[in-house]
Amino acid sequence: MNLKLARDNGAATDAERRLASPLAVRGLTVSYGQKPAVFSVDMTVRAGHMTAIIGPNGAGKSTLLKAALGILKPLAGTVTVLGQPVAWRRDHIAYVPQRASVDWDFPTRVIDVVLMGMYGQLGLLGRVRPRHRAQAMDCLERVGMADFATRQIGQLSGGQQQRVFLARALAQGADLYLLDEPFAGVDAATEQAIITVLKGLRDAGKTVVAVHHDLSTVRDYFDDVFLINTQAVAEGPVETTFTQENLQTAYGGRLAGAQMDALAETLSGTSAR
């Protein structure tokens, strides 16, 4: 396996870096039935950076994310957050699921969805006080959805729904943000709004990990990439890791010629930089 690890600091050992990583995965295998979707994957996310998880359809991108979060039970492997089991550190993690994973006809308003991100903080019976509401409104403001606070969620467009999900994650007040295809099927304005928020989080020292499918925007949006095709293919900063060679390995020749040509442009931009 051609696994290139990022060398932030030549002196740091693997173990040290895992301990400091906001999300470190080791030997993770997840399978549906007898066929592994993710096989023996190691991933060490750099703190304060934006990482894209990239790979072809069915490569296990979402599965990796869900297993890291404990939504799926792995067959083998460990997931640590700052060196501790993920279950102990849940309040440090915010999650944005795929938009299509829920029923948008559910009887709830935009502001109520954002408040769901604060249920942990509210407890079972804690009253929703004005300051909680203000905090939720602030999160909606950051994604440009404050005007929609009292709308039923079914009335929103796809991009608006995605922004509401992001606002809910913001309301969780976490240090690590995991997003599953946040840009899938959204309009250009939403994509801009989301990436601005995510970069803002990164600049504030938070860590962002997103499953991403649009290879042409990887270079603009992310600092690090993690290439996966059931097994880990490569990991590291975009400049050194997001290469034609690694992409071909990950996509197993499934990248069409035209896609490759379009990418070559952004890729050649690297070597010049």
Binding site: G70, P97, D103, M116, Y119, G120
Partner: protein, 401 residues
């Protein structure tokens, strides 16, 4: 007579039954709400049918121990135990095998119910069994309800309500977005079991009044009815409680006032009537409202198209368009525009031109999303913004009013 029943004037026993049914209705409506929101309404059918063998076996055991086989608490406890086993069976089959939930429900429901019928048939052959009246648990029977029975019922219902209120946040989270619930560290399977446990409690409590075949209706009809009226979970709960309570109260009162009318089925029919009324008349989600909204929207489209055609000097062919415009005095009978019609048409054209500018400018992307060909720009943008847009219009259109 009905009025007397509704005002609790038909004597002690009828009052007891009516109040008991109302309390049960509230508990069932609220308890069933999350089942409905989680889209697992049919689980309650499996749970209710799974109570039968427990009730029968409890009777047999109590008689064998030399007690009175008809002790309500004992029978209900038996029903609860077998319902819990049935529930765990459904849960196990869905989470641990490849069986889909509907198939698991079908299997558990029929097997438990079949076993229950066998037990009841055996009881019929027992000397003390003929007066047992266990058939009453199938369709409910309120004859000879004791004060202690009503008290047990009220207590259990209150407990159920309290449990739903305490667990409402995790239950909402799991019903809306189970993946997110798991990601925030909640044990979705346990929360689901709690939800079904609540439903089980309501079912067992409701066996005596509504019977196991119809209790499903009392769990599901109220939240479905409430859903027509609101877009919020807390109000679905509130509405379901009201609908369930009303169904129980009115249904029990009717059956007390009219001789030889069974209580359980009437309660369910009252609930169904409330459901029908809501389905037709509720604003927003109701059938009538949808039809009206559609008609209204259609008229707006026709009017707008007619005005734009007028402004561009094109003839109007569609009959509906012509009729609508004539009614509003925008055109004459021969299709020629009136003074007012020309003014409206010019305004529509100007609006359309303004929208064209907005939709081609990234700076107005948010506003452009609200373009539907009908909404006037004044409702979306401020006068200042419109002035800015007007400045960029091709010259001749700015001249228009």
């Amino acid at each position: 007579m009905i009025w007397e029943a509704l005002t609790l004037g038909l004597g002690y026993n009828a009052t007891l039954v009516t109040l008991g049914a109302a309390i049960l209705g509230i508990a069932a409506g609220v308890g069933g709400s999350f089942l409905f929101l989680r889209k697992r309404a049919l689980v309650s059918d499996a749970i209710s049918h799974a109570t039968l063998p427990g009730v029968g076996l409890a009777f047999v055991v109590m008689v064998a121990l030399g007690g009175d086989g008809r002790n309500l608490v004992g029978l209900l406890a038996g029903g609860a135990v077998s319902a819990a086993i049935g529930l765990l069976c459904v849960n196990w089959l869905t989470t641990r095998t490849r069986l889909a939930e509907d198939a698991a429900i079908g299997a558990v429901l029929s097997v438990f119910f079949g076993f229950g019928v066998v037990v009841l048939t055996y009881i019929q052959t027992m000397s003390s069994g003929r007066q047992a009246g266990l058939e009453g648990f199938l369709l409910g029977s309120t004859a000879g309800m004791l004060q202690s029975d009503a008290l047990v019922l009220a207590l259990a219902a209150a407990l159920t309500l309290a449990l739903v209120l305490i667990l409402r946040r995790p239950l909402t989270l799991v019903a809306f977005d189970p993946d997110f619930a798991r990601a925030t560290g909640r044990d979705v399977n346990r929360i689901d079991l709690a939800m079904m446990g609540i439903v089980m409690a309501v079912t067992v409590v409701g066996l005596k009044i509504v019977g196991l075949i119809l209790i499903v209706a009392l769990l599901i009809i109220p939240p479905v009815t409430a859903r027509f009226w609101t877009e919020r979970v807390d109000r679905v709960l509130l509405g379901a409680g009201i609908v369930g309570g009303l169904s129980g109260y009115i249904g029990a009162a009717i059956s007390a006032a009219v001789p030889d009318v069974p209580t359980g089925p009437i309660i369910v029919l009252v609930g169904a009537a409330l459901f029908l009324i809501s389905m037709m008349c509720a604003p927003g989600r109701g059938v009538l409202s949808s039809v009206l909204q559609h008609r209204q929207y259609q008229r707006r489209v026709h009017l707008r198209q007619g005005l734009l055609a007028l402004a561009q000097g094109q003839p109007i062919y569609e009959r509906l368009t012509r009729r609508l415009m004539e009614q509003r005095g925008l055109i004459r009978g021969d299709g020629v525009a009136t003074e007012e019609g020309r003014a409206h048409a010019a305004r529509a054209l100007l609006d359309e031109a303004r929208w064209h500018v907005v939709r081609n400018d990234q700076a107005y992307a948010a506003a452009a999303q609200r373009y539907d060909g009908l909404t006037e720009m004044q409702k979306v943008l401020t006068p200042d913004q419109i002035r800015d847009i007007d400045a960029r219009l091709p010259a001749p259109q700015v001249m228009m009013p």
